[in-house]
């Protein structure tokens, strides 16, 4: 047993449901007690989904405990088949049903003989894998199922598309900024003259999965979901995959170069044409994306050597660490991830870019680390946002788990060239806020005391002598007004008419006390 208040990754069935409900016309049936269909609420609330989430439960209640599910699961599958006519029904076990040890595969076999839909049992062990691993596994399972089926039926499409094309694997529901990232990736590929063969699972149809092998290569933008499917496709159909996350100027270039390599490999065997993406990378890097210029600008100079802590899923934490360290000159004191299953990869990615590495799924350990390091900014999940709030350290959210405010309506990709702009804004805004806070601290804090006059400037009975005026003008503009008001308030309270430098500092001391 473990005493736990909070968890970074959810239970396995959530991963399965996220993949299943991302496909179009796929229905998931959970073998679960009442109340476990909380996934529907999350999808409906966080993603603000307009459609009913295609997930129902075959309820496990007392009767099921006593007698077993018997016909219940099969009936529920059959009913759903009649009601919604999905292409695929995924029977999803939960932690409860794993302990019951009913032969769910048997139900699936029976149901598939009577229903028009395909029926599969999600093959995930609740006590061994988390949400992300389960999602990865389920996606692979579905891809494998449909390619096997196509092979049996002879409908497998193996001939490559005429023009260069790619599959994007791993975009799915409730993913951190996934919708925006997908749009940005499509734009990037379009710029490069690469057609999109399929995007899975989000918005994909399972009956089109037989066309997956038509693409020239697979692009797996996130480490957590899609790699298993990509590896399967590589093994079965010799499709290569690119798993460099195109986040940050450097890695976008790396990713594009790999695509170039993939395409040229085919081109050479087909014709003698050869692609060169270098001019595109150069143009985008220097003039279209603002991030490269930004890191040269004096704004970014101020960030040099500032301490930051990064924590999140493996993909985002690694990419952000690299961006901070290589592209912005910020010192990453600690980079960490909760993806314990991917520890080795993560360590390899960040080891030269940070002082220490933390791999844990215990948020108190992360909190303690942050308290010890006292960074100038934190880049983490929703949890680190709260830790930052408590410790009064500025923070930016860069990874799941997140709240509704991170499912933005506006366009906020993290990947691609537009993504670099977004990340730069996020990083810079966190730090400037930090600096402002710091200055406010030095000169007496925010206006928490009672207001003396309503107007912003208080040019009244008080006179500032020349030294104090000079001192005041040295204070950065954005806090000057506050300092002025605080000083004058102090002067009034103490019957001082002529404000000197001494008055200013007395005011500061009084307010600090």
């Amino acid at each position: 047993m473990k005493l736990a208040y909070w968890m970074y990754a959810g239970p396995a069935h959530i991963g399965t449901l996220r993949v299943a409900s991302s496909f179009k016309n796929v229905h998931a049936i959970m073998h679960a007690p009442l109340g476990d269909d909380y996934f529907n609420v999350m999808r409906s609330m966080l993603e603000r989904e307009r459609d009913f989430t295609p997930v129902t439960a075959s309820i496990v209640d007392r009767h099921v405990l006593a007698r077993g599910s018997q016909e219940k699961v099969v009936d529920n599958i059959f009913r759903k088949d009649k009601q919604e006519r999905p292409n695929l029904i995924v029977l999803t076990p939960t932690c409860t049903s794993s302990i019951l040890q009913e032969d769910l595969q048997n139900f699936v076999d029976r149901a598939s003989t009577i229903s028009n839909s395909d029926v599969i049992l999600a093959d995930v062990n609740h006590y061994r894998v988390n949400e992300l691993q389960a999602a990865d596994r389920t996606l692979e399972q579905i891809v494998r199922y449909y390619l096997d089926k196509a092979r049996r039926q002879g409908t497998l499409q193996l001939s490559l598309t005429d023009k260069p094309s790619a599959n994007i694997i791993g975009i799915f529901t409730l993913g951190f900024h996934n919708q925006h990232d997908c749009r940005e990736l499509k734009r990037l590929l379009k710029d490069l003259g690469i057609a999109i063969n399929q995007v899975i699972p989000e918005g994909g149809f399972v009956e089109n999965l037989n066309q997956l092998p038509k693409a020239w290569f697979n692009l797996v933008p996130y480490r957590e979901v899609g790699l298993m499917a990509a590896k399967y496709l590589e093994k079965e159909f010799g499709m290569s995959y690119i798993s460099t996350t195109p986040m940050g100027v450097v890695d976008i270039a790396n990713c594009i170069r790999q695509m170039e390599e993939q395409i040229n490999k085919r081109f050479i065997s087909l014709s003698n044409k050869k692609l060169n993406y270098e001019p595109y990378i150069d143009e985008q890097t220097r003039f279209i994306s603002q991030a490269a210029w930004f890191s040269r600008s004096i704004d970014c100079q101020n960030l040099t050597g500032k301490k930051a802590v990064v924590f999140g899923d493996a993909t985002h934490a690694a990419s952000i660490t690299k961006i901070l360290a290589c592209e912005m000159g910020i010192r990453v004191s600690c980079a960490g991830t909760y993806c314990k299953h991917d520890e080795e990869w993560f360590k390899e990615q960040v080891q030269n870019f940070c002082d220490e590495i933390l791999v844990t799924d215990d948020h108190t350990e992360v909190g303690d680390m942050i308290a010890r390091i006292e960074p100038s900014a934190i880049f983490g999940t929703q949890m680190e946002r709260h830790i930052g709030k408590r410790l009064d350290i500025p923070r930016g959210v860069i990874s799941s788990p997140v709240h509704i405010q991170n499912f933005t309506l506006g366009y906020r990709p993290f990947l691609g060239y537009e993504g670099t702009n977004q990340v730069a804004d996020l990083v810079y805004n966190s730090f400037t806020l930090g600096m402002e806070d710091h200055l406010l601290e030095i000169f007496g804090g925010h206006d928490t005391k009672e207001v003396i006059t309503k107007s912003l400037s208080t040019n009244s009975d008080l006179t500032w002598n020349s030294e104090s005026q000079l001192e005041l003008s040295k204070i950065p503009g954005f806090v000057r007004g506050k300092i002025k008001r605080n000083t004058e308030k102090f002067a009034r309270q103490n019957g001082i008419v002529d404000i000197t430098i001494e008055t200013m500092y007395a005011a500061k001391e009084a307010l600090n006390a």
Binding site: M1, L3, Y38, S58, T94, R128, M383
Partner: protein, 460 residues
């Protein structure tokens, strides 16, 4: 109008494929209500994930609840349950020092048959903190019924009336009492006699302001409330015994009511629930009649409240409602809304205790008759899929539903109100009738503002 007015209540039962919160969610409001408690949910990642997401921001405010997350070793009994729980409870004692630890049993502890009830007394002796066990699991219960299981378990811990009175008498000869001082003070109050000789204990967790509003209403009828289950602190649990009258404030407390009657020998006052001015009045009247007290000025008070609601009533009158059902407040809310002039098509409800809710059902019946409205169908264990089909036909003006269906229904042009809000909002008593209507009319008012924009249907 050719509406056939049915005068009998009919109950239907569907498949039970409906969406509701897991009953462990009761820790969310109970840990806040009982200030010195600590709730330990013994379950899996699934339970933890639900709590974490359902309670949103609260989780970051250092809540007095935690998961005892079961791992594979616990499931396969490679680890010793007792030792594991002891380790966690000692840690909780060290970090938080609560006056009571409440173990919430879940589906998993049921299935692996973890003997929480057996272990609790032993561990309680060992660590010297009371441990209460409540099995609030999704196998047996829905949403608010979680509170019912906790309060039923807590009812066993309330001090016994007879013993207390004896102790208080003995106090003269300086005998040593182990009972909380608070309890003794209350006992004295009974003996010295307040307005009503017989103590009245109300059960159901309400925010303290609402609890004192209801107590005050009863005070006006010269009835003093001698205690609440639960009280603000565990150490202030009310005294129970065969002389004590009890009355529920919420419709989902049937187990608690049963426990109070059968195990603690209390006398249950059956009454409609104090939701809406009509319900509140009937609730007070039933209590008064149990004490043989003539009510004073109650009719006028109700009338005043209705008058103050007039603006809201204009908005709801003649509009139709569909309750999908998920929190057991449905009958009382429907009864109030019918009295407000609304038409209710269907009352979905997870579980219907016809005995505990008898007075409420009767009031529903008379209200329908009075308002000349057919009695709505009451659907126990509803099937959400079927309900959505019915809603498509009926096109109600408002659907009261869980969050899983709210956005999709809105996108299809059906106004919705999240049912969960009724559980967390203050809806009891005369004072809060306005809040119920505030909630019910919010989607209607919002849509009045957006009406002319022409984009109500937002799906392809």
């Amino acid at each position: 109008m050719s509406i056939k007015i049915s005068e009998t209540l009919t109950f239907e039962c569907e498949t039970g494929n409906y969406h509701t919160f897991c009953p462990i969610s009761c820790v969310a409001w109970l840990y806040q209500k009982i200030e010195d408690s600590f709730f330990l949910v013994v379950g899996t990642k699934t339970c933890g994930y639900f709590l974490q997401n359902a309670l949103g921001v609260m989780i970051f405010a250092e809540p007095r609840y935690a998961m005892a997350e079961l791992e594979e070793g616990d499931i396969s009994a490679q680890l010793n349950d007792y030792q594991e729980l002891k380790r966690l409870c000692l840690q909780i004692k060290k970090d938080r020092n609560p006056s009571v630890i409440i173990w919430i049993g879940t589906c998993t502890t049921e299935i692996i048959k973890m003997d929480l009830e057996g272990m609790a007394p032993k561990l309680e002796n060992e660590i010297e903190i009371p441990i209460i066990v409540a099995r609030a699991n999704g196998l047996d219960y829905a949403f608010t019924q979680g509170e019912d299981t906790v309060l039923a378990a807590m009812a066993h811990r309330c001090p016994e009336q007879e013993i207390l009175i004896n102790n208080a008498r003995k106090e003269g000869d300086k005998s040593f009492s182990l009972l909380p001082i608070e309890g003794e003070r209350k006992t004295k109050q009974f003996i010295t006699g307040s307005e009503n000789r017989i103590p009245l204990v109300l059960f159901g967790s309400l925010p303290s302001t609402v609890a004192s509003q209801l107590s005050l209403e009863l005070n006006r009828q010269s009835i003093s409330v001698s205690g609440w289950l639960p009280a603000q602190r565990y150490t202030d649990l009310p005294i129970l015994g065969n002389n004590v009258y009890v009355c529920g404030v919420n419709p989902f407390l049937s187990r608690t009511a049963t426990t109070l009657m059968r195990r603690r020998k209390c006398k249950l006052i059956g009454a409609p629930f104090p939701i809406g001015p009509d319900g509140t009045r009937a609730w007070i009247e039933n209590i008064c009649s149990a004490f043989n007290i003539e009510t004073r000025g109650l009719e006028k008070r109700e009338q005043q409240v209705w008058e103050s609601l007039e603006n809201y009533l204009d908005l709801v009158r003649g509009k139709s409602v569909f309750f999908m059902g998920d929190n057991l407040l449905e009958i009382s809310l429907a009864r109030f809304l019918i009295r407000c002039g609304m038409i209710v098509y269907e009352i979905g409800i997870p579980y219907m205790d016809k005995r505990y809710q008898a007075a409420e059902l009767k009031l529903l019946q008379t209200t329908c008759k009075k308002m000349c409205i057919p009695i709505p169908r009451i659907v126990e264990k509803p099937d959400n899929y079927n309900q959505i089909q019915r809603m498509r036909e009926l096109q109600p003006d408002l659907a009261i539903t869980g969050m899983a269906h709210a956005n999709p229904l809105e996108a299809r042009g059906i106004n919705t109100k999240w049912s969960v809000e009724f559980t967390f909002a203050q809806i009891h008593g005369f004072t809060n009738a306005k809040d119920v209507l505030e909630l019910v009319t919010r989607p209607l008012r919002r849509n009045n503002n957006l009406e002319n924009l022409g984009w109500t249907d937002l799906v392809k």
